[in-house]
């Protein structure tokens, strides 16, 4: 009987651990990847600003249209 109780406890722990991992995998799909992509884009824009736009005396938001001005 005590063996069964121990099994029950271990199974509960296993199932909870699996649930937590599923939640972490789903969260990382939705947030981590998006966040990393957004950070990458931001750093690319900043690098373009510092290397190209700033030297032309343009602000970041004007830089997009600098050819027309």
């Amino acid at each position: 009987m005590s063996g069964q109780a121990t099994d029950k406890k271990k199974f509960t722990l296993l199932a909870i651990a699996a649930t937590v991992l599923v939640v972490l995998v789903l969260s990382s799909n939705a947030f981590l990847d998006e966040y990393l992509v957004a950070r990458g884009d931001e750093s690319q824009r900043r690098s373009h600003y510092e290397n190209v736009l700033q030297k032309k005396g343009l602000k970041l938001h004007e830089g997009r249209y600098w050819k027309k001005q």
Partner: protein, 420 residues
Amino acid sequence: MKKRRTILFLVALLSLAAGPFLHQETAVDERAALRDLAPETTFSGKGGAPPHYRAGQDLVAFNSYDVTQSIRGYAGPIKVLVVLGDDGRIKGIKLLSHRETKNYVHYMESPAYLGRFIGKSVFDRFEVDRDIDGITRATVSVEALAKTVRESSRAVALNAFGLQAGAGQANEAGNWSWAWYAVVLVFGTVGYLLTRRDRLLRLRDLSLAAGIIVIGLYLASPFSLLHVYNLALLRPSSSELWYVIVGSTVLSLFIAGRFYCGWLCPFGALSELIARLPTRKWTVPPEQDDRWRGFKHVLLAVVTAVVFLSGRVDHGNYEAYITLFAFHGNLFAWTLLALSLLANLRVPRFWCRYLCPVAALAAVLSRRDPAYVSMPDCPMGNKPNPETGECIRCNRCYHPKYGNGTGGGEAPSLFPGNVG
């Protein structure tokens, strides 16, 4: 079961309806991509047929999707920005967008791989594993990429530079991966039908082994919920393999319940083989077992809502078999995979019983067959007369007499002491 079916249907329907209001397709910034590819070159505005950007007389750039909209990978089109010279050679290439499962195509996205297209001519064949390197486990995606670059480059080279390429050249040799899948499917189906008549249960072991080797390791194409989501979001593939997998599995769910899980699924097979190792199995109380078996239905509903509301199929990907057979995933995904496999040593088919979203979908789509009465050594650890979604149709307990309700009364219990 009827209640679960209704809830899932409502969740799917409401999420599908609300999704378009919550997310919008962002237009690809082709100019930014062009700036990355050729920072020193000034391109004209987009124009012409097919639409392209021009820099002087000797360089054009175009989005492949503007030219070849019908070529699709595993989950819709793969859009590529290509810079082409007047000699018909590719000068630059950048992936603009795609919806392929990232686990499989992470190498295809890398500049190192795309760089291999640079210098190729529209007169080249662009055939995977011949003049284009293939990527194991991403065959369909890589073939779609090669084909879209080839066809779009040839069309633009003809119109922009008058270069006639492709006429008289043989098309690609053809991908026979669908035939391999079909062979395993036919073998599994024949085995399934034979074991319903006779106790040739070894046939199932052969089918499981074929599932692991062919569907898992060779094709890396286990049926996944992502297939169903891509179908629901109208993002079908142009690959024959995709249609064979989705068509056969969905059909089998309606006709024979979780036949796929019991006879073909490579992950289920691996789980069952691990569970057969002589280790002491835990005794899980029935009420606790039932409660956690219901958890996979909750997961299916949550993931369905997430995917349809976000419009992003990859957001719903937690399936351990994708991590295993793509050989790629993040730390959490690998840990979940390891846990799911090791758990079989104590709880047979742990993933299939408690977590698998395909199992939950199968339960919703299939109908009960009373001929499956369960028995003590059931690979799923089912209790007598199990629910539809819990039986993997291994045929160990199949009682034809009680099928179709013609047996007269309940099937006898095969459990000692008349359990249940």
